[in-house]
């Protein structure tokens, strides 16, 4: 936008004239106010201008008194309140902290999952040929902190998965799913609003 700035170092009249709006609203500093008052005593044009500006101010104040915005405020409040729940973190620092927490959680979950795999392999070495199949995939999953236990159980059940590890301190779980259903399960979990992270760790822990 064009802002041709007018220098105001001119005559006392010009300077007082530029100060008048804030003389009228009472926010000039003491020295500025004294200068304007001294000039007003001898300048009829500025006296008239100040009077006109007082009328302008009165009109604004009268408008203020007529303003009734409460219904709109209520409406806006509802809108913001709706979005409020989904507000992003308020700072880069917080986002970074959350990211680090996630990475830490993932790391813990991976360690946990690898431990499970090693244990699984150790157990496998003692399995008989008739033991249940071990063609399973392991997923690290994190649920939204607001997810109820019942919702979590239902989601795991619907995904044909079993929780075999967790929760870690950060809330990560290790889920075992049949290998053949692994892709569909991952997709299902990722599309769920209750799930914040899905990572495929292995295909059953086999090399």
């Amino acid at each position: 936008m064009n802002d041709r700035v007018i220098p105001f170092e001119g005559s006392m009249h010009a300077q007082a004239d530029r100060w008048l709006p804030w003389y009228v609203n009472g926010t000039l500093q003491a020295d500025e106010r004294r200068q304007v008052e001294r000039h007003l005593v001898e300048c009829m044009a500025c006296q008239q201008e100040a009077e006109w500006l007082r009328i302008v101010q009165e009109q604004f104040v009268e408008q203020a008194d007529k303003d009734d915005v409460s219904p709109k405020v209520r409406h806006l409040y509802r809108r913001v309140a709706k979005r409020h729940g989904a507000m992003p973190a308020s700072s880069i620092r917080h986002r970074r902290e959350k990211r680090l927490a996630w990475l830490a959680a993932l790391q813990v979950a991976i360690i946990l999952a690898l431990s499970t795999i090693v244990l699984h392999q150790q157990q496998n070495s003692y399995r008989t040929l008739s033991a249940p199949g071990n063609q399973d995939a392991l997923l690290v999953v994190m649920f939204d902190p607001h997810t109820h236990e019942e919702q979590m159980r239902e989601l795991v059940r619907a995904s044909h998965a079993r929780i075999v590890g967790g929760p870690t301190e950060e809330g990560a779980y290790v889920l075992r799913v049949p290998e053949r259903a692994s892709a569909a399960t991952r997709q299902k979990l990722r599309s769920s609003p209750q799930v914040t992270l899905v990572e495929d760790l292995s295909s059953g822990g086999h090399p």
Binding site: N2, V5, W52, V56, Q57, V80, M87
Partner: protein, 193 residues
């Protein structure tokens, strides 16, 4: 004084507002809601007056409060909370006008020297009472913002410069042209009658 009345419209002292914003920075939702209730009427009035686009007001207010929520931690206490929030609202209003294509270069007439207009008489003052709102709509958003912040919200020139992120002399210039244009608008209405 208008500024004191609006600044403490809900009886909240300036330092308590800063504390409230500090709690918003710590992501306390209750504090955000309190700040929202405290500022919404003022921001609504300001945004409506600057944009003259009622359809944009809600969106701009939402955007403003979202920025307040996200950026509260950047408040550095060098200005009043109200100055900081109004600055955000002002920028959001300009952004919205730009998106709408309503933020155009002021027409040449906006800078015409209309000081030749004579002093106001009683008739012109009556017209002002009747037609202030219409006359304000002839001003640019910047000029309306200066008028609004001065006369409705009672801010000092330096505070307005902070809100509008511009030098004090720019505020004085905008006010100078706003006053002249307001007079010209009222004069043209008188001639049209």
């Amino acid at each position: 004084m208008r500024s004191r009345r609006t600044d403490s419209a809900k009886g909240v002292p300036v330092d308590e507002e800063a504390a409230l914003l500090g709690r918003v920075a710590a992501e306390e939702k209750e504090a955000f809601e309190a700040l929202y209730r405290l500022y919404n009427p003022r921001l609504q009035r300001f945004v409506r007056s600057v944009t003259k686009q009622p359809a944009l007001v809600e969106e701009i207010l939402d955007d403003t409060m979202m920025v307040v929520w996200r950026k509260a931690y950047t408040f550095n206490h060098r200005s009043k909370v109200s100055t900081w929030i109004f600055a955000i609202a002002y920028r959001q209003a300009l952004k919205a006008l730009k998106r709408l294509g309503s933020l155009e270069e002021p027409e040449a007439a906006a800078y015409a020297d209309v000081t030749a207009l004579g002093p106001d008489d009683a008739l012109q003052q009556q017209e002002l009472r009747k037609h202030l709102d219409d006359a304000l709509s002839t001003l640019s958003p910047d000029q309306r913002a200066v008028m609004e912040l001065t006369y409705y919200f009672g801010y000092a020139c330096r505070e307005i410069a902070q809100i509008m992120s511009c030098p004090v002399d720019t505020v004085k210039t905008r006010m100078f042209y706003a006053r002249r244009k307001l007079r010209a608008s009222l004069a043209s209405r008188r001639e049209a009658i």
